[in-house]
């Protein structure tokens, strides 16, 4: 039976010395979503992902793939894959040894599939992991993950420290070869612009709270960015933009819930980049607090 929700979280709190790393997270992630967790350092993204993986005890109700990650971590990890940091594959192992190891402990790992994926790369089975470049280690880790028939994939800064080419390759391989519409993927990264094209949904987090959650399609419908012509600037400002920023000396206005027709003719109109939208929402939240 297909599960409607991969993750259900209600009132999730995690505190460290009176500081709330997670401050009442309420969230439902539908199966098949590719969800981006977006937020500044300390927003609680990694803490939430650790809670999802059953690595942390939290207050509140948390259900991942129908299981309580704190109590059923072992069962859960048979259905969940994670890349928390690409630099953690054991350096002393050979590629063959790490594949054999995963094959020995993971009931859903298909070693032939992993070898087939690796055969399309420069990675040799006999190579020691310590001899591989960081980019190749990422490919190896991704090959392992792609050969696991998991229902949920958790990626926490998976491309940290990689150069642009490998980062792009990582996400394109992930979506083209791995994502089949049924798997749920959670991605947390600081390089928002690189995952923007692969996301189906986004969550904005700040100070342990969910600031906004919506599908990318809904975001694109709800928010519009206008680069007004010089003579239309005042008219555009009169339409109550939610945020204004300056880009190369030119003002860029962000509108929420404004019909596209009203903006067309005033300048260049398009959906905002997720990163820009996030910054706008953060600024708005800050000004509301002040």
């Amino acid at each position: 039976m297909e599960r409607e929700f991969a993750i259900k979280a209600k009132g999730i709190i995690k505190s460290y010395d009176n500081n709330h790393a997670l401050n009442g997270i309420d969230l439902e992630v539908r199966s098949g979503q590719v969800l981006g967790l977006i937020g500044p350092n300390g927003a609680g993204k990694s803490t939430f992902l650790q809670a999802v993986l059953g690595l942390l005890n939290t207050e509140g109700e948390l259900e991942v793939l129908g299981l309580d990650p704190r109590k059923d971590r072992h069962k859960l990890l048979q259905k969940v894959c994670s890349i928390t940091d690409v630099a953690v594959l054991p350096k002393w192992m050979t590629v063959e040894q790490v594949l054999q190891y995963v094959d020995g402990v993971h009931p859903r790992f298909n070693i032939e599939k992993a070898k087939s994926i690796l055969s399309q790369t420069d990675i040799k089975n006999k190579s020691k992991i310590k001899t591989l470049s960081r980019g190749l280690v990422v490919q190896l880790h991704l090959s392992i993950v792609m050969a696991i028939d998991a229902e949920l994939l958790v990626l926490d800064e998976p491309t940290l420290g990689l150069d642009l080419v490998y980062r792009k390759e990582f996400y394109s391989q992930l979506i083209e070869d791995y994502y089949d519409g049924n798997k749920t993927i959670l991605i947390s990264t600081h390089q928002v612009e690189e995952i923007e094209g692969v996301l189906s949904d986004a969550i904005f987090m700040n100070q342990g709270k969910v600031v906004m959650k919506d599908s990318i399609d809904a975001i694109n419908e709800r928010f519009l960015e206008l680069r007004p012509n010089q003579d239309s600037l005042e008219k555009a400002k009169s339409l109550n933009p939610m945020h204004t920023r300056t880009e190369l000396g030119r003002e860029v206005l962000l509108f929420e819930g404004t019909e596209k027709d009203k903006l067309t003719g005033l300048g260049e109109v398009r959906p905002p980049f997720i990163a820009d939208l996030f910054m706008a929402i953060m600024d708005k939240t800050k000004s509301e607090v002040l």
Partner: protein, 304 residues
């Protein structure tokens, strides 16, 4: 079972130098020494230990060889082989010591813990695989090296005796007890269980302390000193001393150990009847629970 086998195989792949290569190399070196001695290339003569063919120039020794009872011959050969194999055991003991202190500390230090814990293997299974490795598997791996050394020593001695007309080629083989192989492995397993509290303590220190060596030593030194000052007793020190030594020589062992003998299987039963053995197992169980707890809490790898 498949998971456990995989975990143990992974440990052996990582620690093959200490657990596989080192004992084999030591066995080979010792074998070369034995061959060299029997072929007259060298002698080993220290105040504690003599290993030389010169003793066979002595008439009394030759007469003893001709007239000794089978039991006595077996006992003498056993004693010699026990001493000969001791460096192999010492090598493995150091490898186990290094493994125990580093195994949980290293996975935190190099952050491979993140990878291990991202797979469906419980902390308890991981910890038990490491305990099983040092208590059961490593002794099994040591045994072939000891057997190899024994066989080379017996063959060298047989050739020496036969070619020098001292006794027949079969003299040593008749006196050698092949069932000693079982005695050795059971004795090593018993030793592992006897020393388990110390091994578990070192693993525990590796699981919780930033500096595992300090984490292992400081509480023990502090405990010994405090016990001496406050209670005027030395239970902690005696406990550690006992567990570091051979189980048949522990102060609590109910039978006086004979000098340099290979233990009887019945000795293991005797050990199982002592309160001290079970105190050690109980203490080890608490420490194992502590290792599992600390390993499960080692999640300090947030990228935030």
């Amino acid at each position: 079972m498949k998971t456990l086998v995989t975990l143990i195989r992974r440990e052996l792949q990582e620690h093959r130098v200490g657990f596989i290569y080192a004992p084999f190399i030591v066995a080979c070196i010792l074998s070369l020494v034995v061959i060299s001695v029997y072929f007259g290339l060298t002698d080993i003569q220290t105040t504690e230990f003599n290993f030389t063919t010169k003793i066979y120039e002595n008439e009394e020794a030759l007469e003893w060889m001709a007239t000794a009872t089978p039991e006595l011959k077996t006992a003498v050969i056993r004693s010699g082989l026990v001493v000969l194999g001791f460096p192999i055991l010492l090598t493995v003991a150091f490898a186990i010591l290094a493994f125990n202190i580093s195994t949980f500390a290293d996975e935190r230090k190099d952050r491979t813990l993140i990878f291990w814990r991202s797979l469906p293997v419980s902390d308890l299974t991981t910890v038990m695989s490491k305990i099983l490795l040092v208590t059961v598997i490593v002794p099994l791996l040591v045994l072939p090296n000891i057997i190899l050394l024994h066989l080379i020593a017996l063959l060298s001695a047989s050739i020496f005796f036969a070619t020098n007309d001292i006794v027949s080629f079969g003299w040593v083989w008749n006196a050698y007890s092949f069932t000693d192989w079982f005695r050795i492995i059971f004795s090593l397993w018993a030793q592992s269980l006897w020393s388990l509290p110390l091994m578990a303590w070192l693993m525990f220190a590796g699981a919780f302390a930033k500096r595992p060596i300090m984490g292992a030593l400081v509480p023990i030194v502090a405990g010994v000193v405090l016990e001496g000052i406050v209670l005027k007793t030395n239970y902690i020190f005696t406990f550690i001393e006992d567990r570091l030594g051979f189980w048949t020589r522990a102060s609590s062992f109910p039978k006086q150990a004979e000098e340099l003998r290979v233990v009887d299987i019945s000795d293991i039963y005797l050990m199982l009847t002592t309160q001290e053995f079970w105190i050690g197992i109980l203490l080890s169980s608490f420490l194992i629970a502590g290792i599992v707890y600390f390993r499960s809490k080692n999640n300090d790898y947030s990228s935030e």
